[in-house]
Structure formats: structure tokens, C-alpha cells
């Protein structure tokens, strides 16, 4: 039973008189524990696919099953529940609350499933420890470096023990050294059993994954398993 299964998943944006087919008939499966990179040129539909997988958006056509649950026909509340419990999202622009501390930012997902305050703090501290930020918990985003901010975002994605971690160009705003650190962190998380899907257009970033889905004009152009030999130099 795959973790993710899509059948003819399509998304069409209506722009005035014109229809933009951002995603067309994407059918694929992703198993639990996989580490997948989605690659493709800008505008090819990577984010659109991620948003659908992450339940931030609903498809125009097709079906999407997550853990065998048919997500493509869920209402707003059910989608919010899935986002809260099953999915940890990491964004290119971090998307942290600027006025809240790192700890509070990581606590956010727990607020919306009613976790009691004490447990919330313990869980958030644990997640921040996993990303080596235990000594930066009371810092606000503006007091952290880009790499540290992305670590906070990753801790936030982890805090609820989701089935799936989605990262849409997580290194897009980072220099190459910091990018590498973040990728090492994601590798670690994968090794600990997390299922990870990462969007990128950089080969260097994608080579950390075990499988690369190439997207072109809203369709899957190639589905490629990476051989160990291609992964030389990766930690």
C-alpha cells in the first residue's frame, strides 16, 4: 500500500479567457520511507504538484490518495486536519512568524490539534534539539541566520511526527554551504525513517535523493531511481 497515489492528477488555472494547464494527468505512487526529488525548469508545475500533495490545494481533475484516504474530495476542515497531522511543509521563504520566538513557531502546528501547553513546549523543544537549535529557542527569526531559520522551519515540520515531509526549494534562498548543511539534515531525517519529497532545480541538491521525478510542462517526463554510484560524495 503506497503512502501516496495519484491518478491523472490535473490542475488548471483559469486566467481570464486562457486556461493554464499547470499539471496534466500526473499518475504516480510514492512508498513510505522514500526520498524523492522533483525536478524541472521554472514554471513546469513542481510547486503545483507539491501543493496538491501537501493538501494546500485541490485538483481540478483526478484522484489523490494519502495513506489510502481519498484526499481529492475532502472539504476544508478535513484538509486542515491532514495538513496538521500528516504533513510537514518546508518552504523556500521559511514562512516563520516574524514576531514569534523559534520555540513558539515550532509550537504552532500543535496549537491547532489541541495539544496541552506543557506537552507543546516539550515537543517543540525536542524538535528544535533534533535540528541542533536547542540554544536558539528564544530567538526571533530576525535574530537567526537563513540556515537557522530553515532549521526552525524543519523542526516545525517535524514536530507533529508527520507521515510526510514536503520541502519546496528549501535551499533556494541559501548559499551553497548552508544548503549543503540543510541537505545533510534532511538526509539524517530520511535515515531516521521519514518520507521526504523535495522540489529543486539544482542537480547538486537532487543528488541527495533516491529517486528523481522530472516534470516538464505539467507532466512527468522521467521517473528515475538513483544508483548508489551516482551518489558519490554524499554523506
Amino acid at each position: 500500500m503506497p503512502l501516496i497515489e495519484t491518478r491523472n492528477l490535473s490542475k488548471t488555472y483559469v486566467m481570464g479567457a486562457e486556461n493554464v494547464h499547470a499539471l496534466q494527468d500526473v499518475s504516480m505512487t510514492i512508498e513510505k520511507g522514500e526520498y524523492v526529488a522533483i525536478m524541472g525548469p521554472s514554471g513546469s508545475g513542481k510547486s503545483t504538484l507539491m501543493n496538491l500533495i501537501g493538501c494546500l490545494d485541490t485538483p481540478t481533475k483526478g484522484e489523490y490518495y494519502l495513506n489510502s484516504k481519498k484526499v481529492s474530495q475532502m472539504n476544508d476542515n478535513e484538509l486542515a486536519n491532514i495538513r496538521n497531522r500528516e504533513i510537514g511543509f518546508v518552504f523556500q521563504t521559511f514562512n516563520l512568524l516574524p514576531r514569534a520566538t523559534a520555540l513558539h513557531n515550532v509550537e504552532l502546528p500543535l496549537i491547532y490539534n489541541g495539544t496541552p501547553t506543557r506537552d507543546r513546549q516539550d515537543m517543540a523543544k525536542l524538535a528544535l534539539t533534533k535540528v541542533q537549535l536547542e540554544d536558539r529557542m528564544d530567538h526571533k527569526p530576525s535574530e537567526l541566520s537563513g540556515g537557522q531559520r530553515q532549521r526552525v522551519a524543519i523542526a516545525r515540520a517535524l514536530v507533529n511526527n508527520p507521515s510526510l515531509i514536503l520541502a519546496d526549494e528549501p535551499t533556494g534562498n541559501l548559499d551553497s554551504k548552508t544548503s549543503e548543511d540543510i541537505m545533510v539534515l534532511l538526509n539524517d531525517l530520511h535515515r531516521q525513517g521519514n518520507t521526504i519529497i523535495i522540489v529543486t532545480h539544482e542537480r547538486n541538491v537532487a543528488r541527495h535523493a533516491k529517486r528523481i521525478l522530472s516534470i516538464l510542462d505539467g507532466r512527468i517526463a522521467e521517473d528515475q531511481i538513483i544508483k548508489e554510484s551516482d551518489r558519490n560524495g554524499v554523506h
Binding site: D57, D76, N84, R85, N95, L108, I111, Y112, G114
Partner: protein, 407 residues
């Protein structure tokens, strides 16, 4: 549990935006203050009138030439009525078994002087000595006049507190003389201070003198004569009124198929009437001051809209992390409710203080009114909900992806 956390989020957001929050708070506070001032003051006034009339007691009624006028026809009918006369007194006293005490009543305005001090337009009130048993006249010092003094046309005066204050500053008035339009009277008693419900005419600016003495100085009262009658008991009030009605109809030769050509009034009837004629006025005042509340509400809505727009990205982040529409809705509603309710509570307190000091200027006291407090709290809660719901719904319905990409 979630509600508590959402409340904290709202509270923190308000603290983070101090200027914006205090503007909203102020808008609501001013609105509620003005409404509360008006409600408290009106309640205080009506309460004072009621208290004044209740001094008459529940078993007392008036006989008057003209009653309460509610229409032009009524006025035209009443204006044609014959005046009451003094001969009626004996008929009532002898013919009304359920009447306990009867006094004719009249009055005028006159200049009251002592030495170089003078008060113009003092209300000179004439009644029999039993007035003290009918109306709850509170004696501060000395005594009311007696029936002997009445019988012998004694020039004695029972004065209101204002007369004491102005003409007898620092002097004991009892036994001293005053002049009413240049006739000498001896002060025998002083009334307790009463204040004035409508600010204008001072309730303490009066002199009571025996009815017979009054007639000797000012002549027969003519049109300005009325009677106050106290029934044997509250239960006997209606019987007493019926008896007086029969006596007066026959005395004044009113045909059986004609209405009374005089009016019988109880304190309750007068109070009802006052309530009725001032209702439109009171509602109008409350309506006008409510405009400031609507303005406050619009301020709330605007500021909340700005807040929602400014925090679009935050809303997107929260939704992407699993916040449901209701969570976002409640978060923003809490914000507007915290502002309007604290503003409302401040407004109630301030309104009360202002109303109290305003009423203090006209020597009246008010106490905190349940009506004012309940309406203040519910008005401000209502404003928070009504004007906060639209921005909150707008926030709750934002599309997460669009909100996240908002710059």
C-alpha cells in the same frame, strides 16, 4: 484548550500593535461613555421624579381643574372648565367617608427678603397645616405650622433649604423674620435639602405658609386652586376617588351623560404620563449618542480589515500548519472583542462618573444602574461581534496558497 491558546494569540497581537489597539479601544470607549452618560443621567432623573412623586404616598390623589393633556382637543375642552373653588372643601370633608385628609393648595411666585439679601421668584406654597401629614415634607429643623396658626392667619413660614442657604448664611433662621413681598413672616421650620430633578427650578426654593394667611396677602386663588386628598388607606384609594367624583359632579352640576369637568390624578398616573411624554425624547437622546457607537464600530471594522490584510501571510502560515477556518475566525473575533469589551467596560465606568458629576451640579445623586451596565456590556460585545465578524470571516476564508504568496 484551543480557545485559550487562540485567546493568547489574539492578546499578543493586540499588545504588539499598541497604537492601533488603543485607537480602536478609544473609539469604542468614547461611544460607550456617551451612551452610558445619557442612560445613567436619564435613569437618575426619572428615578428622582419617581421618588419625588412617591413622597406623596400611594394613597394620595389630586383634584385639579385641568388634567394631563395629550391632545389639542383635550386641551380645548379643559381650558373651558370652571375653576375649582374653596367651598368644595367642606363638601369633600363631609361627604367622603374614605378620605382621611384634605387640603386645598395654591401658590405663586414672590420676592423673599431678609435685610439686604433677597431671592426673586421664590415659590410661595399655600396649604393647610395637615399638608405635613399628606406629603412627606421632611423637617430638618423646627416644625411645620399648626391648625391654630392657620385659623388665626398667623404669618409663619416653613422654608426650603435654598432660602436658609441664601438668606441665613451662618445664622439660625428659627424665630427670625423674612419678608415675602414686603410682608413680615416668622420662620418656624426648615425643610431637608431635596435637590432638583430637572436642574432648572430648584426644589429647595420654596416657602410654605398657611392657606388662610396666603389668601389674606394674595387674595383668593382662582384658577390656581387644586386639592390634595389622602385616602384612609391604599385599598380605599379608588373608593375615595369615586366618592370625590360623585360629590364634585353634583356640586358642579355635571349632567349624567357628560364627562367630568375636573380631573382626579394619582402619583402613579402622573409618573406614567411623564414616562410616556419623555419616552420619545429619551429614545432620541440614546439614538443620537448611539451614532458615536456606530462610528466606533466602523473604526473597529476598518482597523480589523487593515490588520487582516497586513497579516495575510501569517494567516497563510497558520492555515498551512493546520489551522481551520474556525480557528482563524475565532482568533480575529477575539481581537475585536477584547478591544470592544475592555473599551466598553471603561466606557461604563467613565459614563457613570460623568453622569454622576453632571447630576451633582444640579444637586442630584445617581447610583450605578443595572440597566446601564447590562446595556453597556451587551452593546460593546455586540459591536465587537457585528463589526468584527466581517474582517474575521474574510481572514478565515483566505486561500492558503494565495495567502502564503501575499507580499
Amino acid at each position: 484548550m484551543i480557545a485559550g491558546s487562540l485567546f493568547k494569540i489574539s492578546f499578543d497581537a493586540l499588545i504588539a500593535n499598541k497604537l492601533r489597539s488603543s485607537l480602536t479601544f478609544l473609539g469604542i470607549m468614547i461611544g460607550v461613555t456617551s451612551v452610558m452618560t445619557i442612560i445613567s443621567a436619564l435613569e437618575g432623573m426619572m428615578g428622582a421624579v419617581a421618588e419625588d412623586l412617591s413622597a406623596l404616598g400611594p394613597s394620595t390623589f389630586f383634584v385639579q381643574r385641568m388634567g394631563m393633556i395629550t391632545s389639542e382637543e383635550q386641551f380645548l375642552e379643559m381650558i373651558k372648565r370652571k375653576p375649582l373653588d374653596l367651598e368644595m372643601e367642606e363638601f369633600i370633608v363631609n361627604g367622603c367617608p374614605d378620605c382621611d385628609k384634605v387640603t386645598p393648595r395654591s401658590g405663586t411666585q414672590a420676592k423673599v427678603k431678609r435685610g439686604n439679601e433677597a431671592l426673586n421668584q421664590v415659590s410661595i406654597r399655600a396649604a393647610r397645616a395637615n399638608m405635613i401629614d399628606i406629603v412627606d415634607v421632611q423637617v430638618e429643623q423646627g416644625r411645620f405650622y399648626t391648625s391654630e396658626e392657620e385659623l388665626y392667619h398667623q404669618k409663619v413660614a416653613f422654608i426650603g433649604d435654598k432660602i436658609r442657604e441664601v438668606l441665613f448664611a451662618g445664622v439660625d433662621p428659627i424665630g427670625k423674620d423674612i419678608k415675602i413681598n414686603n410682608q413680615k413672616y416668622t420662620v418656624i421650620g426648615i425643610s431637608k435639602k431635596r435637590g432638583s430633578p430637572f436642574g432648572g427650578e430648584n426644589e429647595d426654593n420654596f416657602v410654605y405658609i398657611p392657606f388662610a394667611t396666603y389668601m389674606k396677602q394674595f387674595g383668593r386663588p382662582g384658577r390656581y386652586l387644586s386639592y390634595i386628598i389622602k385616602a384612609k388607606s391604599v385599598e380605599k384609594l379608588e373608593d375615595a376617588m369615586d366618592q370625590v367624583r360623585v360629590i364634585l359632579r353634583s356640586y358642579r352640576h355635571v349632567p349624567y351623560n357628560e364627562p367630568d369637568d375636573f380631573s382626579l390624578l394619582t402619583a402613579d398616573m402622573i409618573l406614567d404620563f411623564l414616562n410616556q411624554i419623555t419616552r420619545v425624547f429619551r429614545l432620541g437622546l440614546i439614538g443620537i449618542s448611539s451614532i458615536s457607537l456606530v462610528v466606533g464600530g466602523i473604526v473597529v471594522m476598518n482597523i480589523m480589515m487593515v490588520s487582516v490584510t497586513e497579516r495575510t501571510r501569517e494567516i497563510g502560515i497558520r492555515k498551512s500548519l493546520g489551522a481551520k477556518q474556525k480557528h482563524i475566525l475565532v482568533q480575529f473575533l477575539f481581537e475585536s472583542l477584547i478591544l470592544t469589551m475592555t473599551g466598553g467596560i471603561m466606557g461604563i465606568v467613565l459614563g457613570y462618573i460623568i453622569a454622576k458629576s453632571l447630576m451633582g451640579m444640579i444637586d442630584m445623586n445617581i447610583s450605578p444602574s443595572a440597566l446601564a451596565i447590562i446595556s453597556g456590556v451587551s452593546i460593546s460585545t455586540g459591536i465587537g461581534l457585528i463589526f468584527g465578524i466581517y474582517p474575521a470571516m474574510k481572514a478565515a476564508r483566505l486561500d492558503p496558497i494565495k495567502a502564503l504568496s501575499y507580499e
